[in-house]
Point group: C2
Chain length 310, copies 2
């Protein structure tokens, strides 16, 4: 197995910055890929040990390219997640002033994040989309545009300077990235974990989805993400990508997934991995009756009743 | 009020074809707009009576630009929906053969629909994205590209011919469009209706969403769409766009919405309107105990009990 991580390239984008936050990335070769699909295919084909891709964005929601790739094709597993706050810098060639900026560029996904700033500060600048934020910075370096929105870290790489930093329209703008590998035994619980699964519903009936969610809520498991994705079988046919609090090694999660496996035509396990948003110390205690001990004591009680030892 | 309909342009796209399926479109001036946002703003500003925009696609799922525009800003209401099967034709300048095609173009949303066909039939052709499928056809007319994927109807408009028709990777590829206007009393039930709402959850707790869905399922109401959209308050903060079977004039729907209004911090009603997928004759009878008559009889029984007349 190759000791390399594929990631959604090119170099110098937020994805690379997020990937370098993972300690294990320091010992791997990091190989940029042109798309999420090619990054995940590198893992499926064995060319890379794992792939690092964006999966959720606080402005745009679930990143459907990534979700659809995880939902279909050969199974993959999420090993880690990274949360990165997204703020932009306005990068220019050294010496350029704000009043000299006629054209600006960045990846289209940056536009909703900088729209208000542009309207307020550069109302007459013309926007042109770039293939990536890093590519936009390169085009400024080459003189094709006057300024690019990109991460401040991209300035040094392209010989530019940051005229403004901390640009973001929405407060708390964050992107969540995941490290995806081939299926394996999940790491032991860290104390603050989440579990990702994809659920398919049986032919729709009132409460179908509600019944599925009941497998979680009845065991005190909170959901952190529920994103519907079309199955491709026509309008109205969806599967559900779900992130739930907890680890598959927890009794309550194992039992919830057991219940779902019985009632869903298909369930795809996408992994149990440490949460990036909080540490173990901040996890609230399980609701009454949902701890591992209580699950085991209850199972023993039923066994005793079945034996006539109650 | 202007008697015009704004729609997501330009002319000659699937949106215009779908709009012309509505009988009322024949008596309106149809005005193309550059974006979903500008089409809906034309309605909010009173420049147009209604706007016609795509809202759901069986390959890509909910169309987030449209959902986000309906979720935020001044309230709008859905009046009608249209379902259109999407298949592509390969348009070329008259006389061009398949073996002469080096470059192809279309709107990026067309790409997942024609990818397999391209790999099989034109593996060496280079793809370049166009601003719209109609724009791609225009660029072929001008000689910029050799072929464009677009609706067959676009051939005549741009002096092109359809070298192949019926191109689609996914069976049943459909797009759903909606006619959106300012809030008003919804049309009377047609017998086969759906109701669209947006729900916001209180601070998350296990089963929060499940409890909300229970307001529908407990009254025998099936859901046809559930799409989460970020609220902008950071990762993990979502509202839910829901399509439910039935009309707000139905007792069970009115009661479900009453229940949701009590427990959600915010509910946005997006309209009750006829379903495009089936007619009234195909609607299955309500589940036992969920007809208007049964709701009324039950309410009378409780009133009698309260009066001591049971």
């Amino acid at each position: 197995m190759s000791a390399s991580y594929a990631y959604l390239g090119p170099e110098g984008t937020f994805t690379e910055v997020a990937l370098r936050r993972l300690p294990e990335a320091a010992t791997r070769e990091l190989v940029p890929q042109v798309s999420v699909q090619s990054a995940l295919d590198a893992v499926r084909d064995g060319a890379a040990e794992a792939a690092f891709v964006p999966i959720e964005n606080s402005v745009e929601g679930g990143i459907t390219t990534t979700l659809d790739e995880l939902v279909a094709g050969r199974p993959l597993m999420i090993y880690r997640e990274v949360l990165l706050s997204i703020t932009f810098a306005l990068l220019v060639r050294p010496g350029t002033g704000l009043d000299a900026i006629r054209t600006v560029t960045a990846h289209p996904a940056a536009q909703p994040q900088v729209r208000n700033w542009l309207t307020a500060r550069l109302p007459d600048a013309r926007w042109e989309s770039a293939a990536s934020n890093a590519d936009g910075a390169r085009l400024v370096q080459e003189g094709r545009y006057d300024a690019a929105f990109a991460g401040e870290f991209a300035a040094a790489r392209y010989g530019l300077e940051a005229l403004e930093t901390g640009i973001h329209d929405a407060e708390n703008a964050q992107t969540r990235f995941v490290l995806v590998g081939r299926p394996a035994r999940p790491a032991a619980p860290s104390g603050a974990d989440k579990t990702s699964v994809v659920l398919w519903q049986r032919a729709d009936h009132p409460g179908g989805l509600r019944d599925l969610l009941g497998e979680f809520s009845g065991r005190g498991i909170n959901l952190m993400l529920l994103q519907s994705r079309p199955t491709g079988a026509g309008i109205g046919n969806y599967c559900f990508c779900i992130d739930a609090e907890g680890h598959i090694a927890d009794r309550r999660m194992a039992e919830a997934l057991t219940g779902l496996k019985r009632v869903c035509p298909e369930v795809r396990f996408l992994g149990s991995y440490p949460r990036a948003d909080i540490g173990a110390a901040d996890v609230r205690p399980p609701f009454a009756g949902t701890s591992d001990e209580e699950f085991m004591a209850a199972a023993e009680w039923v066994a005793r009743c079945q034996d006539g030892r109650f």
